[in-house]
């Protein structure tokens, strides 16, 4: 059991780390094709990472340790979440650690580290990006907690693995109003949290609109590579959580090698489908005005709150 559990943890880490840049590449490629461009290919993010890794690290004058440690913190939090979350197997060694609050707090820690690094550079853009990110995070985190909490009420536990197993045991739960409201809230929040359209445009370097790009403007070389890898990993982790919370079928509930292999395929397929949907959706969307973003997030917060309410009064 423990050996098989350890295998599950390592497998999840490997899959998330190797496949997340490919996911980003796939989404960029899909978007390019839909817009009539040839695109750089699915492997381009990995080639970019390799190129950046070979460069010499450069830090701007006057920056402190906050700036230098932020990429490491960001990557570390993503790695921990990738290791403990119920992505491929719920029978992994670290599954008891995968508490809803711990996972959300870890992901927030990464965001906060990056925002602090943006302020630490002392440039106008860094501060602007950090302040915008802080505004968004302040609205996103409560919604994220409330939406997943609504799912945890029927399961009776805030452990993500237990929630997933409970949904597997009672598939009808997926079509309850609780789950539908929470799904809508969670999708909006994930779009905001991973910096996709219509909240933030991942492809822009226009000063007035960028959020995530503004914070990482001063990074270069291996540091930039880490930040880029971490943002792909965040996207993969969020999409994986979304997929497994609402469509848990295929996830391995025991450590049997055959089940785990099937679960790996199921996980990759689910995340790829969600990523493709997100990329196709982005083609049809324009970026929202920054002042309208709180409106969108408040709406998703209300849906999350209603989901929690419904999980109590319709139960």
């Amino acid at each position: 059991m423990t050996a098989l559990g350890a295998v599950g943890v390592v497998l999840q880490l490997l899959i998330v780390v190797t496949l997340s840049p490919l996911l980003t590449g796939m989404m960029r490629q899909l978007r390019a094709r839909l817009e009539g461009r040839a695109g750089a290919g699915i492997g381009q993010p990995w080639r970019d990472l390799r190129k950046l890794m070979r460069k010499r690290p450069v830090a701007p004058h006057g920056t402190t340790e906050v700036f230098r440690t932020a990429p490491a913190v960001l990557v570390a939090t993503c790695l921990v979440v990738a290791a403990v979350g119920p992505f491929v197997t719920t029978a992994s060694l670290l599954d008891p650690v995968a508490d809803l609050f711990a996972v959300v707090a870890l992901l927030t820690l990464g965001t906060v580290a990056l925002a602090l690094a943006g302020i630490d550079t002392g440039t106008a853009f860094g501060g602007m990006g950090a302040s915008r990110e802080a505004t968004i995070v302040a609205l996103v985190e409560p919604t994220l907690l409330v939406a997943i909490f609504a799912l945890s009420v029927p399961a009776g536990s805030t452990n993500l693995g237990v929630i997933v197993t409970a949904t597997l045991a009672d598939p009808a739960q997926v079509f309850s109003p609780v789950s539908l409201l929470a799904a809508v809230a969670l999708i909006v929040v994930i779009i905001a949290e991973t910096g996709r359209l219509p909240v933030d445009n991942p492809a822009t370097h226009l000063e007035l609109t960028m959020v995530h790009e503004a914070m990482i403007l001063e990074y270069s070389g291996p540091d930039l590579a880490m930040v880029e890898l971490a943002s792909s990993m965040r996207l993969t982790v969020f999409l994986g959580l979304l997929a497994n919370l609402f469509v848990p079928w295929g996830i391995a509930t025991t450590g049997q090698p055959l089940l785990v292999a099937a679960a790996v395929l199921a996980f990759v397929a689910k995340v790829a489908v969600l990523g493709a949907l997100l990329a196709v959706g982005e083609v049809f969307l324009a970026k929202l005005r920054l002042f309208r973003v709180p409106e969108l997030l408040a709406g998703s917060f209300v849906l999350g709150l209603l989901a929690v309410g419904a999980s109590f009064f319709l139960a």
Partner: protein
């Protein structure tokens, strides 16, 4: 139909009712609001149809069809016609309470509805009784739309939202109040919409817009 499936479908219909009410509060485009309102009419008809199936009553089934025709067909059609005649004002640009706050108020109203309908839920442990708080929440949200919107058409939608909620409460608590009563109420609602539509056209002819706040000033 098994009991658990009935409960699940009923919960789903009630969830759709609440979701559409929140969406009406969220959107600014009047055309989108009317579409969401039509969806809510369908959800309400499904709710009534489910109760009819559970009770095995053909009378209630006929009422469900009537609800569908009136609330998902005739009323949205009338509203769309009113919108087409309204000219340039297609967006609720400045509600008295801004959209973010009104969404949060909606969350508060839902909790309030849950608190006040506790005694009703305690009377009867059936799935229909458990859904009463949601219907009460729709009534409160409709009332909120009615008092905070400026355009006559969005106020009308608020009024109809309230009526949808009241109808839902009626069916969930009493499992049908008789075809005659239901027919009377439906005709009343239809008549109110027709009268308000004529009134709105008059307002627009006299003032050039349907912003109700303009009526505060004297006009000759």
């Amino acid at each position: 139909m098994s009991e658990s499936l009935y409960a699940q479908l009923l919960n789903l219909a009630v969830g759709a009712l609440l979701l559409t009410a929140v969406l009406i509060l969220w959107r600014r485009e009047l055309a989108a609001i009317i579409n969401v309102f039509a969806l809510q009419g369908i959800a309400l008809a499904v709710l009534v149809g489910l109760i009819a199936l559970d009770e095995g009553s053909a009378e209630l089934g006929a009422v469900a069809v009537g609800v569908l025709v009136l609330r998902a067909g005739i009323l949205p059609w009338l509203l769309r016609r009113a919108l087409a005649g309204a000219g340039a004002t297609r967006r609720e640009t400045q509600p008295l309470v801004n959209v973010v706050s009104s969404l949060l108020v909606a969350a508060g109203l839902t909790l309030l509805a849950y608190l006040v309908s506790q005694p009703l839920v305690a009377l009867d442990p059936s799935p229909a009784a458990h859904a009463i708080p949601v219907a009460v929440a729709v009534v409160l949200i409709g009332f909120f739309v009615l008092v905070t919107r400026r355009l006559a058409l969005s106020q009308l939608v608020g009024f109809l939202l309230m009526d949808n909620g009241i109808t839902a409460v009626g069916f969930l608590t009493t499992a049908g109040i008789g075809v005659v009563v239901e027919l009377g109420i439906s005709l009343d609602v239809l008549l109110v919409v027709l009268v308000l539509q004529i009134l709105k056209t008059r307002i627009r002819e006299a003032f050039g817009a349907t912003d109700i706040d303009d009526l505060r000033e004297l006009h000759d």
